[in-house]
């Protein structure tokens, strides 16, 4: 095995690190503490470097950054704790539109997405369909030249700052559930759409979006009528490796080490010198190295043009579950002060340990729960019978 990145990827790593040093200021990181997990200035700077377009596959007209270069960029941004959800969305939606969208969508949406000026919110989940995403009930009905949409979506995160929603709808109830779905990219300013905030334990703000007699033209449809599952598969395909989630723990570990090194226990000993603390830190660092192995493996597969599936589930499962464990350990080891919120006086390292503890459970749920990941691994890798 050869674990080294090619020279151009290592050079790019240096460039990304310099970019992070210059632009990922404390203000950028703390800007997400108000709930909106996106920072427009930082996002725009990434776009200005050409990295959003660069991430779009070159066969779709993208800027030709290799899979390994993308992996390096995503790794470095995550290690630094940068807000990259918007980046992932922009790259994924632009790629899907370029592969499967009509000219109207390509011209209207893609340039603005890749220049960092607009965002698209994912509208898949509904109150009654989460993991079972193909059971969506939001209806789209053709009325002359227009479509009329009625329904509700959950977890349309960033919808309050986005211009569009990538909307999964039901257009046919007479066929198996996967075969009656159609996707639209709906402008959020369209009359009949209401966005309500959903505040979360992890301080992130998400949204519920409501669609009441929303009328849009057929030019906003992406993919075939009743062919929505193909769009879903394409979105998942482009999400692999781009969506992040491989390195949630390092910012927490760094913050805790900073705290433990300078903080004394009542007996005047330093927290970092406690053997229990040191063992847990090493266990956490080992988990990060395991994540690195998984992440590099998926980057390698992507670089070989292999469409991976289970490998991505495994990466996500291990990274998020170990992160949740770390956040629990570090909160304990920060003592009662660890409970203090961001900005409270005496909160360790400004309160970020508590913030990680409240954010970690989000990561084992969104983007495919740990249980769905385990199902996919059991079926796809071990050949055990499908149970759903």
């Amino acid at each position: 095995m050869d674990w080294s990145f090619p020279p151009e990827a290592e050079e790019f790593r240096t460039e990304v690190r310099a970019f992070i040093n210059e632009h990922l200021t404390d203000d950028v990181i703390s800007s997400t503490h108000e709930g909106t997990i996106h920072n427009w200035d930082f996002h725009k700077k990434i776009a200005d470097r050409g990295w959003l377009g660069g991430a779009v596959p070159s066969e779709l007209g993208g800027g030709g950054k290799s899979a390994l270069e993308m992996a390096v960029m995503i790794e470095e941004l995550q290690l630094a704790g940068a807000p990259i959800d918007g980046m992932g969305v922009a790259i994924v939606v632009a790629s899907v539109v370029l592969e499967l969208g009509n000219d109207h969508l390509k011209e209207t949406i893609v340039p603005k997405l890749l220049s960092g000026e607009t965002l698209v919110s994912f509208g898949y989940t509904e109150p009654d369909s989460g993991s079972d995403v193909a059971a969506a009930q939001t209806r789209a009905v053709k009325d002359g030249e227009e479509w009329v949409i009625n329904g509700q979506k959950m977890w349309t995160t960033m919808a309050h700052i986005a211009d569009y929603v990538l909307l999964l709808t039901r257009t046919n109830t007479d066929v198996p559930k996967h075969k009656g779905l159609t996707f639209f990219i709906v402008p959020l300013e369209t009359s009949g759409i209401e966005i309500q905030p959903v505040h979360t334990m992890g301080t992130e703000r998400s949204n519920a979006t409501f669609y009441d007699e929303v009328r849009i033209g057929d030019e906003w449809r992406i993919g075939d009528i009743d062919g929505g599952w193909e769009i879903m598969k394409a979105a998942l395909k482009y999400e692999r490796g781009i969506a992040g989630g491989q390195f949630p723990s390092p910012p927490l570990i760094d913050a805790f080490i900073e705290h433990a090194q300078k903080t004394e226990r009542p007996d005047r000993s330093s927290i970092i010198d406690d053997p229990v603390v040191r063992e847990r830190l090493v266990r956490s660092l080992i988990d990060v190295e395991v994540c690195r192995g998984f992440a590099y493996n998926t980057a390698f597969l992507a670089s070989e043009g292999v469409m991976f599936g289970v490998e991505g589930s495994m990466t996500k499962l291990f990274a998020s579950e170990s992160y949740k464990k770390h956040s629990k350990w570090f909160l304990d080891m920060a003592g009662t002060e660890g409970l203090l919120y961001l900005g409270e006086e005496g909160a360790p390292v400004g309160g970020v340990i508590d913030e990680h503890f409240r954010h970690a459970p989000v990561t084992t749920i969104y983007g495919g729960t740990s249980e769905i990941s385990r199902n996919l691994i059991a079926e796809g890798l071990l050949g055990l019978p499908r149970t759903r």
Binding site: I272, D273, I286, G383
Partner: protein, 338 residues
């Protein structure tokens, strides 16, 4: 970046898979439970050149990188082979790096004589519980600032143990001093890292096979009128187990590569891979054993062989709690308070 075996390595893997299939079947493993060593299999291994494969060419070795040794180590784990391949490889490399002209070298390169190294700190002129100590012709130990080589001890007696290992204490009385000083101790430490990294690879092979055994059983065992493999309780346990094993696959092979390339990260990655693989292999074999129900702990079934070795093989290195502290000192700062 290329994270699979290349075509040459796949060919080597094929050759050795055939070897282990014919010489280390599970029946042979059982037959050698009381000695922890299959003499006949070692004789056959000598014919493949494996004992000296990772020794320098200029002294008659195979000149292969440590990564090639890892291909064999993975199979040692998969077949829970009663062969001191890893100990011999690491100890011979150590001797070759210190005294390539040593009289024993040719017999170690061929595998006629078996070498091992003492992983526990020595005390009172004795190396305790040496891996392969009951069968090794030569044992290298670190005594203070000296590296000593003990050979030809006739009073060795095997101590029965959890994992059917050929463990024995070895006397260092009259052992030959082969090197002294900081550089020599560094070499010994490097050999320990190589043992850890190759053991991590072996434990990965062991863990993968343990999952395979459990999954195969779950695909033929019926309870409540259905295959037990259709229960999500089992499926999720297997999925978590194989995730740990795959994680240890990448980390342990990365550690072997780092050592081969003399990377600064070699020592810590070897320790990390070793600690992680130890837990992943035990978790995998414990899950598989559990899903066998009562048969899991019956001697007649194979999974208990894996469960016992998953714990016993790595514990030859000593209490993992101590190793966590050593790695902590490599990676972490200490407090500012004196």
């Amino acid at each position: 970046m290329y994270l699979r075996l290349n075509s040459d390595e796949l060919a080597i893997q094929d050759i050795f898979r055939s070897f282990f299939e014919s010489e280390c079947s599970i029946e042979r493993v059982r037959t050698s439970q009381h000695t922890g060593f299959d003499t006949e299999a070692w004789e056959r291994l000598i014919e493949t050149g494996a004992p000296g494969m990772c020794l320098p060419e200029h002294i008659g070795g195979g000149g292969a990188p440590l990564t090639t040794g890892a291909i064999v180590a993975d199979l040692v784990g998969e077949f829970v082979a009663p062969l001191p391949f890893i100990e011999h490889l690491v100890a011979s490399r150590l001797l070759a790096s210190l005294t390539p002209d040593h009289d024993l070298m040719p017999a170690l390169i061929s595998g006629e004589k078996i070498a091992s190294l003492a992983l526990q700190p020595t005390e009172d002129d004795q190396a305790k519980l040496v891996p392969g100590g009951a069968i090794a012709d030569a044992v290298i130990a670190c005594k203070g600032n000296d590296l000593v080589l003990a050979s030809g001890d006739d009073s060795v007696s095997l101590l029965r143990n959890t994992a059917d290992l050929p463990l024995a204490h070895r006397s260092l009385n009259g052992a030959e001093t082969i090197a002294s000083g900081g550089a020599a101790v560094e070499r010994f430490s490097r050999a320990r890292s190589e043992w850890q990294a190759l053991m991590a690879v072996a434990l990965t092979g062991l863990g993968r096979k343990a999952v395979d055994i459990g999954v195969a059983y779950a695909k033929e065992r019926y309870q409540f009128g259905v295959l037990i493999g259709s229960f999500q309780g089992l499926q999720h346990g297997f999925a978590s187990a194989i995730t740990g094993v795959d994680g240890s696959h990448f980390l342990s092979n990365r550690a072997v590569s780092a050592l081969e390339n003399d990377s600064d990260l070699g020592e810590r990655l070897a320790g990390m891979a070793f600690l992680f693989a130890s837990e992943a292999a035990l978790d995998a074999s414990a899950a598989s054993l559990q899903y066998h129900g009562g048969y899991g702990f019956a001697e007649e079934y194979d999974i208990q062989l894996y469960y016992r070795r998953a714990k016993g093989w790595p514990l030859q290195f000593g209490d993992p709690g101590v190793e966590y502290q050593r790695i902590a000192n490599l990676c972490l700062p200490s407090g500012k308070v004196a």
